[in-house]
Amino acid sequence: MHNRALPYLLTLPSLILAAVVIFWPVVDLIQIATHDVSRFGQLRDFSGLDNFAALVADPDFIKALLRTGVWTAAVVGGALLVSIPVAVILNTDFYGRSLARVIVMLPWAVSLTMTAIVWRWALNGESGMLNSALRGLGLADHNIQWLASAATAFPMQIMIGILVTVPFTTTIFLGGLSSIPDDLYEAAALEGAGPVQQFRRITFPLLKPFVNIAIVLNTIYVFNSFPIIWVMTQGGPANSTDILVTHLYKLAFRIGKLGEASAVSLVMLAILLVFTAIYIRLAMRGERA
């Protein structure tokens, strides 16, 4: 009896800590989201789901919701596609490998906001580095106004999102690759398997759990990622690059609708919870099979 209670007692402190750090703010959010709130955060009347109804009625919210889906899928998927080959290459032994590893990891060391500011300069229509590089190489004959419309701004933001997600993802995969014993490859090579076959039959299947981890963690980070889009376009022009976080920030701190903003953050929390739960279920079923 005593023994059975012990594990719970031991986890109790961290559970309490988690409750204070996680549950308390969520309860607070629920309270704000279900009330009429003054600009200074004072709760007025209980308003039920009015704040949520206002969100659904707002076409900008719906568009931001869909765009968040595109943003997350594109950045997470893109980072995955880039990171696997990068990790495989960095895992092979070649001259200057440590240097290459450092270079790949470098973007990680720079703050996201700083990266976004540098890109904002680089994408400037008149004096931006990208335009002068393209023109210097003869690839463009006039300046492209990258951030002037969503058609060019959003793909660029996705590209930068991929760029800053690659180091972390590559690190996960490098860890995964180093756990694959070399003798597997030796045996396969003896049997006459080429590099492509080795990758498909050995590397990828053994890397799968790590891919799953990368997908879940990256989805959570990217879904909530604020600086890239905020610094470069503030979700503009005319809200055409808004994702849920930037939409939320505008609602709360520009317009002062704390109730609706809290509702947005609860919706985001719910989406992430559901996604993670479903994905982990699917991934684990796949592993058992």
Binding site: G41, G125, E126, S149, G236, P237, A238, I255
Partner: protein, 411 residues
Amino acid sequence: MAISKWKTGLLAGLSVLALAAQANAGEVRVTVAEYSAKTGPYFQEVEKAFEAANPGVDVKFEVVPWDVLLQKLTTDITAGTNADLSIIGTRWLIDFVQQGVAEPLDGYITPDFKGRFIDTFLSPSIMDGKTYGLPIAASARAMYYNKELLEKAGVANPPATWAELKDAAAKIKALGGENYGFGLQGKEIETDVYYYYAMWSQGSEILDKDGTSGLDSPGAIEAAKLYKSLIDEGLTQPGVTSYAREDVQNLFKQGKVGMMITAPFLSNQIKEEAPKLKYGVAAIPAGPTGARGTYGVTDSIVMFSNSKNKDEAWKLLDFLFQTDWRAKFTQGEGFLPVNKEEAKMDYYVNNADLAAFTALLPDARFAPIIPGWEEVAQITSDAIQKVYLGEGDPEALLKEAAAKADGILKK
């Protein structure tokens, strides 16, 4: 032993907290916005001078970056730990007044004190006949023009009307190269304001007389079409929706833009960063009827209703609004004078740039004092960005925006 040590420490900590939480008699806390690197030192000086003149009063200034000021005030007020006085954007004042947070100052204001101010700048802080704030910083907008570019293009005088501006811009475009006639801001803070300049000159206002949005008025639509035609004919810099105010100012400093509209502080920046640039400051172009408007902005210092040391706080306000102290602040930050006596000083009278700004003040419009103003401004910015991008007919887009704004204004 160990436990008793802990206890003593804890008690000591608690007593320190208790001391800090209790406002001392004669203590005045002031939250001020950090406008530049000169703001902090200025208020330190004020603190020393004021405390020397008023023994027994302890002044504490909290200097907060402008970007987080509203967030700080929001949390402080919610928690009841706000200071006695604070600088706020005057456009936020209505929220403070409606929530009963700001104290009317009429009980303290003597006719003599009121007479110190230029009325244009004091009036935005007056609501329902009561004065809730005093203008501590004021600014307006005027048109900067590049003398060299205009000369090269064969334009003798800075354009006085939008028709002349369009003409001058076309001549600058004809020069070829990377020269742009009119710098048009289309991104981030004050995107809507940049559009109002044209709208006001067409005789339209942000709010009609009946309190509904003026965005669907003929003048407003005309103004949008004017800007759109400037963009379509290549008379602005390309990709206007990627240019925030600072980006357009940078183009101007690089000498690539013929004309742009912005605040007095650009003069200070040019002095430091592009001293060779030959530029002038002129009035914002007028419309066909001669109507014109500039944007006036003030920040107010307010007293909180829950302040326990109102008399001492008022003494400090009285001290701050003396001519000498005002002049020091205004000149350091590159603002416009709010005191009548101050405005007569040589520094302002003999400054051609500033004279252009002050000459426009009779035409100055301030952000309308309505709850939900920030949202209406956001709707306007969004609509005008769509116009610039060509995502629809200007008239339809503005009418749609006006309907949206009316929905908020009705509340």
